[in-house]
Structures are given as structure tokens and as C-alpha cells.
Point group: C2
Amino acid sequence: MGDSARSGCPINAAVEAFGDSWSLLVLRDVMFGNRRHFRELLAGSEEGIASNILADRLKRLVKAGLLTREDVGPGRRAAYSLTEASIRLVPVFAQLGEWGLRHRPTTERLRVRAELLAAGGPELWDEFMAELRVVHLGEPAPERDGPGVMERLAAAYAAAL
Amino acid sequence: MGDSARSGCPINAAVEAFGDSWSLLVLRDVMFGNRRHFRELLAGSEEGIASNILADRLKRLVKAGLLTREDVGPGRRAAYSLTEASIRLVPVFAQLGEWGLRHRPTTERLRVRAELLAAGGPELWDEFMAELRVVHLGEPAPERDGPGVMERLAAAYAAAL
DNA sequence: CGATCTGCTTGCGGTTTGCAACCAGTGATC
DNA sequence: GATCACTGGTTGCAAACCGCAAGCAGATCG
């Protein structure tokens, strides 16, 4: 369990934080799917994560400061939330998603979110991060006129079915 | 070695292509360190990759279309080159690096490249990608007045020693 | 000929993975 | 008050993978 960094390189630091087969996908589901509970993440997983792996990754991500766990007693729904650090992964997700849809085969249904995020650019990413801070960090919601990014993502996803 | 995708999600596609402990670091060394040969990558690795892992990752990356291998006979220096797909990872590296240096402990020496890349923004990334296409894909070099991005990265790195 | 370089390969013990079953606590229903 | 479904997980186990260390064949150098 040594968490000593292999090097002081920022890229390596990022890889060590979430550079495995599952961590980033768990974060994706919390961030874009708004899945906040264990069973929700387990059952809703597009890729079919196993429960022991999910449990392990949640622990790791909490330890790494990328998730927080609202610790209620045993047997009651515990909620996982993003942190400022993981909210700041939005641009990373956007770039990864854009790369994936350009250079790998993807399915229409799952592609729409990445497309919308790529098309929106940094302004949209900032708007989305602000929304995530409201939902996950409890920041006060600012006044808004149109639908939020989350709603637009959900609408695009629903329209692609 | 089933390369069947777990899902059609672009993020998952990216994770499956280079979402492990080493693939991205190998690409980083080829891209930013201009290390093109096996022993170069092995000896120059900041994180100390093992030779069998390096061999495996090089094979995988070639298979995934993220590297090409100029196959000379056995016993002679084979050169690895980036492909268009991996050159397009520059924005991903930039965002990952920026996240890493903001949210993880890093060392000054290894931080400068990420800082320069983050500060330069998309215009600099495009310029860098154009340079990589010259070096790795053999595109004709355009006329330039100042030093290239690669030179500036190297200079910043050298200055931080 | 020997030393050194090239890109790897092999052995091996330890770790991780992923499937499946299981578990204790809680709250609602019968 | 017993059953039931739901909560977030744990446990066993076989198979795969990881990383360290050593070795290897072909080419080049002196």
C-alpha cells in the first residue's frame, strides 16, 4: 500500500491518481450520470464493474481526495460526492472524450455527451463545473435563465435513444 | 488478448487504449523527450519502467495504432514514432499535466513542461502538434522565425535544473 | 576475438482481477 | 414479529497480470 509517487511529474501524478481501468469510469458515472450511491454505480455501470472492484476504487478515490463519502451508519444510504479536485477533471474528460470519439469506434448513444462537451469548449466546461459545485459541494445556486449543462447533457442523451 | 470494448463510450475507449500505469508515460517520453528507441525509453524513464513491461506496452501501443515501429532487422536500432492519433493526445496531456500540477505534489524540474503547455493554450498545442507531425510523420517542415515549441520545452526543462 | 550495444524474452513470486456467493444492518410490509 | 427487499459492502478462489532480475541472439566496434 505504498502511496509513494514514482516521480514528481504532473502527468505521472495524474496517472497514479486515476490511471487504471476503472477509477476514471467511476468518476465519469458520478459526474455525468449523477450516480451517488454504491448500488446505483454498480447496477448502472455501462461496463459492468464488479462489486469488490467498485468498493476498492471508491475507497481509493476517497483516499486520493477525488471523492468524499458522507458517512451515515451501516445499512443506510451513503452518498459519494465529487471534490474540487475531481470537478477540475471536467476539461480532462472533455479532451479524453473528444479524442475517443475521433479515434476509436463508439456508439451513437454514448457519444452525444462527449460531442456536446467538445463542441461547447472551455466556456461550457466552466459552466458545468459551476453546476457541479452547486450539486456536490453545496455552493449556492446562481440565477439562470436557460437549462443547465447537466440538463442539456441529459436531454442530448435521451434524444439519442 | 480479446480487444472487445467493454462499452462504446468515448471515455472508456480512451481508458482502454492507454488507461494503465505505463502506456501514457511511454507516450509522454516519446512525445516530449523524443525518445525513439527501446533502450532510450528504458534507461531514460523517470519512473523506472521494467524492460518486459516496456516491451509489452510498445507492442500494445503499436497494435492500438498509437505508435509505429520502423522494423529493421534484429540487432539493429528500431525506431518508434507517434501516429496522428497519438499526436492528437497533446491536448489530453496538456489538461492532465495542468490538473497534476494544480492538485498533486510535483517537483519543480518536471513541472516546467506542464506549466509551459498549460500557459500556451490551444494555439501552442496546435503548434506543437504541427512540429510532431514533421518529426514523426515526415511532413515537410514549414518556415519558422522563432524557436519551436519543442526547443522552448527543452530550454525550460534545462533552465529548471 | 572480446566487449558492448541492440531489442527484447524468460522465470518466478507476489499482487490484482473478476466472477459469484455471501453478509449484517435498516426499514417497510404482512 | 417475521419476512422481505434494500443498504453498502466482504470473502473465496482461479486466472491473469506485474515487476524484478537474469539471460539471449544478432550486430557493431576495437
